[in-house]
């Protein structure tokens, strides 16, 4: 049995409208972010892998289970959708408990797991209040509790950090990391790029229904050859460093910082650049710090999608 979420040449059309097209992916455990603007196909991918919609073409398997077998799939998958809607009249606890009962678990087990999930998202105190009276952040958290209450191996979360205050956001990110460390898949969608940088082990960049890049963010950045990579180097003698860097054929620009604290370098070959930088340091140029500037999702997405963002 594979531990991957696999899309094999999957397309989904809504009538004439494209949802996603020819998507082939193999998502390993860990935190994976689906990144793209509204309408790029993030939610369609999530709905496809949870069986809420079916592919027009292609095949999907979630840990070897096809999504059209909900009685097997839904034990493996927990999904917190983007919809801010709940069955009417339920308290937070009743909401989590009632939908656990749909799994066929006995009462005692449901009570235990509902309590555990609610505690995990720090909603115990508010759990006996009606969901209708919750703030947006509380609704997000109770949705998360419902999605993880049955202890799924794949947690799919559509914009899970929307509406959370900074403290709860950090706690939630820590929860995702903890689940990823336990060997689970945590698949989140986001259009907030700095957030994705913070939490992801790998990213899947989407645009207009197509996957434009996937993998660890640094390796994705390395693939973009037509955009020179930018590196910020703090050093004591930026002028001397810049003159040495200009001798390298793959360096296209070296700009001195206004305050004289360092050099911003653009290179077409990151590997050769870092090797050369090691030699320069051994030659006696004192380097205080080397920081890649554009190997984050924001920059990568900008390079790949450009004006579409």
């Amino acid at each position: 049995m594979t531990d991957r979420v696999v899309f094999d040449n999957v397309s989904r059309f809504y009538g004439e409208v494209l949802g996603v097209n020819r998507v082939t992916l193999s998502i390993p455990p860990g935190i994976t972010s689906l990144v793209g603007p509204n309408g790029s196909g993030k939610t369609t991918l999530m709905n496809l892998m949870t069986g809420l919609v079916r592919p027009t073409r292609g095949a999907i398997r979630v840990l070897d289970v096809p999504p059209d077998a909900p009685e097997r799939l839904c034990h493996l998958v927990g999904y917190a959708t983007q919809f801010d809607s709940f069955p009417k009249g339920l308290t937070g606890y009743e909401f989590v408990y009632s939908f656990l009962r749909l799994f066929g678990y006995p009462h005692d087990r449901c009570v235990k797991q509902a309590d555990g999930a609610i505690a995990r998202v720090r909603m115990t105190e508010a759990s006996n209040r009606k969901v209708a009276g919750y703030s947006k952040g509380m609704r997000q958290r109770i949705k998360l509790a419902q999605a993880l209450a049955h202890d799924p191996r794949v947690l799919v979360l559509d914009e899970p950090l929307n509406g959370l205050d900074p403290l709860v956001r950090n706690e939630t990110i820590a929860l995702f990391r903890e689940m990823a460390r336990e060997g689970r898949h945590v698949i989140v969608s986001s259009h907030v790029l700095h957030e994705v940088d913070q939490i992801s082990d790998q990213v899947i960049l989407l645009s207009n229904g197509y996957v434009v890049a996937e993998g660890q963010i640094q390796s994705v950045r390395g693939e973009i050859r037509d955009q020179p990579m930018q590196v910020w180097i703090r050093c004591g003698r930026p002028g001397a460093l810049a003159s040495k860097l200009f001798e390298l054929d793959h360096v296209v620009e070296a700009r001195l910082a206004g305050d004289g604290a360092g050099v911003l370098v653009k290179t077409r070959d990151a590997d050769r650049f870092y090797n050369a930088l090691n030699r320069i340091a051994l030659d006696g140029v004192d380097l205080e710090g080397v920081t890649p500037v554009d190997d984050n999702v924001n920059a990568v997405y900008g390079y790949l999608i450009g004006e579409d963002r």
């Binding site: 949870t50 009685e71 839904c74 034990h75 919809f83 069955p87 009417k88 009249g89 066929g104």
Partner: protein
């Protein structure tokens, strides 16, 4: 699977019974009982009033029955004594060459029925007898109201409200995905939802039916009620309860399927309503493709609308041999099961696409 269906039932029953949006269904179900109750109170008060009048102006029923048209006013007074109410009017006579005539109205009661004698120029010209309500008359009225209002409108629209809400309502609320993300077969989910709708609708409308019967018979003498119950009463009540439950099952399956298949299920509901309403005028073969045809065949008292229809309407009515009870029940249950099986197949392909709802 059974535990999962039970969980769906619990969630749905709570929603169906206690939803504020569903209050109108209770109004539909219980309004007729309220009307019968008001009628019962009115009849009781009227009867008490007649009893009081009869005590003040005692007269035997036989004496009142012996009075015929053409008798003189003296004969009336001799047989029945003083009336409890009398009015005299001098009336201009337009016909028969003009002139005047003396018109008198005398009212008597034996405590149950009211007798009105219209006396013109000293002779009884007309006798009106207003009987107290009786169970036979009231059960005919009940049969008409039950078949033409309760089944065709109250139960019909109640089932629209309950069963369409089970799937389509949750699509509109954007909360159906919580069910679809549970590890259960979609057919099981559908069965759970249908059973919840069925339990709710049968409970509400059967209670409504029983309340109507109770309200209707409340003002009768306990002896008369007991005689009715030991005669055809219990059988009729059981039939009405059964017909109500079958109506919920039949209409429920249709509207559950409509909620599953149509983005705007009001249109198919309107079509079904129209079809059921014109059933009386459909050719015999088409009559049989409806729920109301079989339900009416199972009703214990035949309610015929013929009297109130115009000649033209009567010409349009076609008659079809009503099916036997077992055929009607089996037919309805088979159609219900067929619609549910079809819905189960469709539920397997059900997708969440709230954006287009």
């Amino acid at each position: 699977m059974r535990a999962q269906i039970a969980s769906v039932l619990r969630l749905e029953l709570r929603k169906t019974f206690f939803s504020r949006r569903g209050l109108w269904i209770y109004v539909l179900a219980f309004a007729p009982a309220l009307l019968y109750l008001i009628h019962a109170i009115d009849v009781t008060r009227d009867h008490e009033h007649r009893q009081a009048l009869a005590a003040a102006h005692p007269v035997a029923t036989e004496a009142l029955s012996s009075i015929k048209q053409g008798m003189s006013v003296e004969q009336l007074f001799s047989a029945a004594g003083e009336p409890y109410s009398s009015r005299t009017i001098t009336q201009g006579r337009r016909a028969r060459g003009g002139g005047f005539r003396d018109l008198a109205i005398y009212q008597y009661t034996d405590g149950d029925s009211d007798f009105t004698f219209v006396v013109v120029d000293g002779q009884i010209e007309r006798i009106n007898e207003q009987d107290r309500c009786n169970l036979q008359k009231d059960s005919a009225i009940f049969a008409t109201v039950f078949q033409f209002f309760y089944l065709r409108l109250a139960v019909f629209f109640g089932c629209v409200g309950i069963f369409m809400n089970l799937i389509r309502g949750e699509m509109l609320d954007k909360s159906l995905h919580f069910y679809l993300l549970a590890p259960m077969r979609r057919e099981g989910l559908l069965v759970g939802k249908y059973l919840a709708g069925l339990i709710a609708s049968v409970s509400i409308f059967v209670v409504g039916t029983l309340l109507q019967i109770a309200a209707l018979s409340w003002h009768f003498d306990p002896g008369a009620v007991s005689a009715y119950l030991h005669g055809p009463g219990w059988g009729q009540i059981a039939s009405y309860v059964g017909v109500t439950a079958l109506a919920c099952a039949g209409y429920g399956s249709i509207f559950l399927a409509a909620g599953l298949l149509f983005r705007n299920p009001i249109l198919p509901a309107a079509f079904v309503l129209l079809w059921e309403s014109i059933n009386l005028f459909l050719p015999a073969a088409l009559k049989k493709i409806s729920v109301i045809f079989y339900l009416q065949a199972l009703c214990p008292v035949v309610a015929s609308p013929d009297r109130d229809l115009s000649l033209f309407q009567r010409l349009l009515i076609s008659s079809a041999e009503p099916p036997r009870a077992w055929v009607a029940v089996t037919g309805l249950l088979v159609v219900t099961a067929g619609v549910l099986v079809f819905s189960g197949f469709r539920a397997r392909r059900l997708e969440i696409n709230y954006g287009t709802e």
